[in-house]
């Protein structure tokens, strides 16, 4: 009986699927669970931008974009279910916003030939396009982030970190473990001492970790956190009176909802960011064309927030890649394989971002066959609690490619040999 009902439901799902002419962009979002605070604004931004393109420009190259949302709850099993449910609908690109689901999908998208874009998360070594044909992680990745943070600290300390101690507080998962290798390599180069402290999912309990930090008194704490873990960490840092200006989160630990629960005590907390936040003209367009028509994703309260901006930026990169693909192949009805070509030929320069109504939202970068990782640049921002605003402290900082490039090469080559892949672009 259940099977019958399920197949009836599945039949209904298939019947309700879009006409084939639409360009399908699945949105594997999470609006429930311990990570929803980050998932909601990102997904709102992602969907609102596609709605804007449909309403204002009549679609991408004249073809409407269709967003299929699927709730993963940041859970890999549900992620697999979502992927299988949407891939047959002509999905052009997947952006799961979860490193765990990304690891799951990398082999699957390579077999199914659908591009996967993991912007600032996922498997770092996917930046090597010679090995990972279907996976992209421009404009930046975790190892870039780790290097940008250390570069910023170098600047703060007059170029010398020797004798300093840095503690990495990380989410005990593939996501949190990613930067450890890079930070270790950098510690050899710059002479600081690195300690790592894991926080288990979901991260609501961090008393012992902060007790350890209080006892060890590191000069700096770098955090690789996500979801509820961020808020708790910032509150705990305030509780032990850790100097906030020495506490730096990565770009997934630097949104408004992370700092506001700690109130004034969070003032001075720093985080990285891969996209600038500002009052872009594109937000006004979203307001008139999407929100005022009642088409807003979610409750519409997130416009302009850090993760909303990033979700919108992700959609913007996807739309630009689709446009590039349409140009290359001379057809508006692109397939996933054409989309991949578009992503590989994507160029984001200042003029383009200006024309899109978001001047300077991201760094300038170009993607190529060998380089799927973009420039890797990031900024450092600081929370101003009294004004309730993130203030950018730096311009885009270039990561230390001398350290990262060999690591990417090594890790991606290991993947290639494990899976008997031959190198591309040669």
């Amino acid at each position: 009986m259940k099977l019958k009902l399920a197949s009836a439901a599945l039949g209904a799902l298939v019947a309700a699927s879009p006409a084939l002419a639409d360009l399908v962009f699945p949105d594997l979002s999470y609006r429930t669970g311990a990570y929803a605070a980050g998932g909601i604004p990102f997904s709102d931004g992602y969907q609102d931008y596609f709605a804007l393109v449909n309403e204002r420009d009549g679609g991408i190259g004249g073809v409407k974009a269709k967003v299929m949302e699927c709730e993963t709850g940041y859970n890999t099993e549900k992620g697999v279910e979502c992927y299988e449910a949407t891939k047959g609908e002509g999905a052009l690109i997947y952006q799961p916003l979860s490193t765990g689901i990304t690891y799951q999908l990398i082999p699957k998208v390579s077999a199914d030939q659908i591009p996967l874009h993991t912007m600032g998360y996922g498997r770092t070594s996917a930046a090597n396009g010679k090995v990972f044909e279907w996976v992209f992680n421009y404009p930046a990745n975790y190892w870039d982030a780790a290097s940008v943070a250390i570069k910023y600290l170098l600047d703060e300390n007059g170029g010398d970190l020797s004798g300093k101690t840095i503690t990495l507080l990380y989410h005990n998962s593939a996501y949190g473990k990613e930067p450890i290798r890079t930070l270790e390599e950098l510690s050899k180069k710059h002479g600081y001492t690195l300690n790592t402290i894991p926080v288990d999912h979901p991260g609501q309990e961090q008393k012992s970790q902060w007790l350890q930090i209080r006892r060890e008194r590191p000069d700096y704490v770098i955090m690789w956190g996500w979801g509820v873990m961020n808020q708790v960490a910032i509150q705990e840092a305030a509780n032990i009176r850790f100097p906030m200006e020495n506490f730096i989160g990565n770009w997934w630990a630097g949104a408004e909802h992370d700092v506001t629960p700690a109130g004034a005590a969070a003032d001075g907390y720093k985080s990285l960011n891969m996209n600038r936040i500002a009052d872009y003209p594109v937000f006004a367009d979203i307001k008139t064309h999407v929100h005022d028509k009642g088409l807003a994703a979610g409750d519409g309260s997130n416009v302009g927030k850090v993760l909303y901006t990033r979700g919108m930026y992700a959609a913007m990169l996807a739309v630009e890649a689709a446009k590039t693909a349409q140009e290359i192949h001379g057809t508006p009805d692109i397939t996933a394989a054409m989309m991949r070509d578009g992503m590989e030929a994507l160029v984001m320069d200042a003029a383009k971002m200006e024309a899109l109504g978001a001047p300077g939202i991201g760094p300038e970068f170009g993607v190529s066959c060998t380089d799927h990782g973009g420039s890797g640049m990031g900024i450092v921002q600081q929370w101003n609690a009294s004004e309730g605003k993130w203030v950018a402290l730096t311009d885009y900082i270039m990561p230390d490619d001398a350290i990262i490039a060999p690591l990417v090469e090594e890790d991606s080559m290991a993947y290639a040999s494990e899976n008997n892949l031959s190198l591309r672009c040669e």
Binding site: K2, L3, L5, A6, A9, L10, A12, L13, A16, S29, R31, T32, A36, I40, E69, C70, E71, G73, N75, T76, E77, V80, E81, E84, A85, K87, G88, T99, G100, Y103, Q104, I106, P107, K108, S110, A111, R123, T124, N172, S173, A174, K177, E178, I180, R181, P198, D200, H201, D411, E418, N419
Partner: protein, 358 residues
């Protein structure tokens, strides 16, 4: 009407004590096997295999495993997730260390390794019972997850701590890795399920199963009539862990392909499988299947109906889904505390007499 038992005579003891003594049940069982082996593999697609059938089959194995320990032997365990992790990591280490050996042997070996670990953590059950044993197995859960996170040898020193299954074949057909076809995935899991369920059913009907049930019903009385509690409890832990280890190995290698221990084998997995066993029915093989079906299929079904069919927002649907599943669990347990298996048993008694109940 449904059951026509006229003329269904038993002329020998072995006929009378078979698993399906009623002819109609027996035919239905064969029909299910035929459909499962000869029909579904030809029609199954990626979505049905990956989102519905494979997880259902794998959770069924795990539920049978836990049912042997909790339902038949009466030892409450909250360490299922941890034992599944042992199976998964054992399978991963074997797959990468001996790439030429068949994956089927690796999965079975992973089961034996888990059985060993299960016996180790089962030793305290000789001294402690009930809630205290539950807490001891809870410690096993947390210890094992911590261990697989802490010691990089288990994940071959990969930077992210993830383990991912390389491609392995059975008779030249890929059953793990991304190129696996839907039917191959389904069939390999189905084979394990059928063999293991058949073995479990027969184990629980024999001497060893009876000694487990004696311990469950009253351990002191069982000891007095000559059941060795050491042997009974430890075999229950070993067999149960063997099943759970195989479930963990298949879960990692065939179903997901890549896992990280904290997310895939955390405490919520232990609870999920315990709920399957309780909802399905303690001490019933059919109940293990029913419980796994209930907790695997129902959320997917609700999601498809609410989001796909009725076009609800995904977050609302996800929350409503939790509420509906929760409410149904409560309703079922109030209506029938012995689970779906007992509902089926009662229903069958009624059907056998229908339409002339006395």
């Amino acid at each position: 009407m449904f059951y026509r038992e006229a003329g269904d005579f038993k002329t020998s003891y072995s006929e009378d004590s078979q698993t399906f003594p009623i002819r109609f049940d027996r035919y239905r069982y064969y029909a299910v096997l035929v459909v499962a082996f000869a029909v579904i593999p030809f029609v199954v697609d990626d979505y049905w295999a990956n989102a519905i059938l494979v997880p259902f089959l794998i959770y069924s194995i795990a539920a049978i495993g836990l049912n042997i320990l909790t339902g038949y032997c009466g030892q409450v365990s909250l360490g299922t997730g941890g034992f599944m992790a042992v199976g998964a990591y054992a399978c991963y280490k074997l797959m990468t260390a001996f790439p030429d050996v068949s994956i089927v042997l690796h999965v079975i070996a992973a089961g034996f390794i888990t059985a060993g670990v299960g016996v180790l953590f089962g030793l305290p059950s000789l001294r402690i019972k009930g809630f205290y044993l539950a807490v001891a197995t809870l410690a096993a859960q947390f210890f094992l997850v911590w261990l697989f996170n802490k010691v990089p040898w288990f994940y071959n020193y990969s930077a992210s701590g993830q383990i991912s299954a390389p491609e392995r074949t059975v008779l030249g057909i890929a059953v793990t890795g991304p190129e696996t076809t839907a039917w191959a995935k389904y069939l390999i899991c189905l084979l394990f399920v059928v063999v293991l369920a058949w073995a479990a059913r027969n184990l629980t009907r024999g001497t060893i199963g009876r000694s487990w049930m004696a311990i469950r019903d009253m351990d002191i009385a069982a000891e007095i009539i000559g059941v060795n509690p050491l042997k009974a409890k430890l075999t229950a832990f070993a067999v149960s862990s063997f099943y759970i280890g195989i479930a963990g190995a298949l879960f990692f290698a065939v179903y997901l392909g890549a896992v990280e221990v904290g997310e895939a084998f955390g405490i919520q997995k232990s609870f999920l499988i315990l709920f399957m066993v309780i909802i399905g029915g303690l001490g019933s093989i059919f109940g293990s299947f029913a419980g796994a079906a209930f907790l695997v299929l129902l959320p997917v079904l609700l999601k498809n109906v609410l989001v796909g069919g009725m076009g609800w927002p995904t977050d609302l649907a996800a929350h409503i889904e939790l509420m509906i599943v929760g409410a149904l669990i409560i309703v079922f347990l109030i209506a029938e505390p012995h689970g779906l298996a007992q509902l089926w048993r009662i229903g069958k008694e009624k059907l056998r007499l229908w339409p002339f109940p006395h």
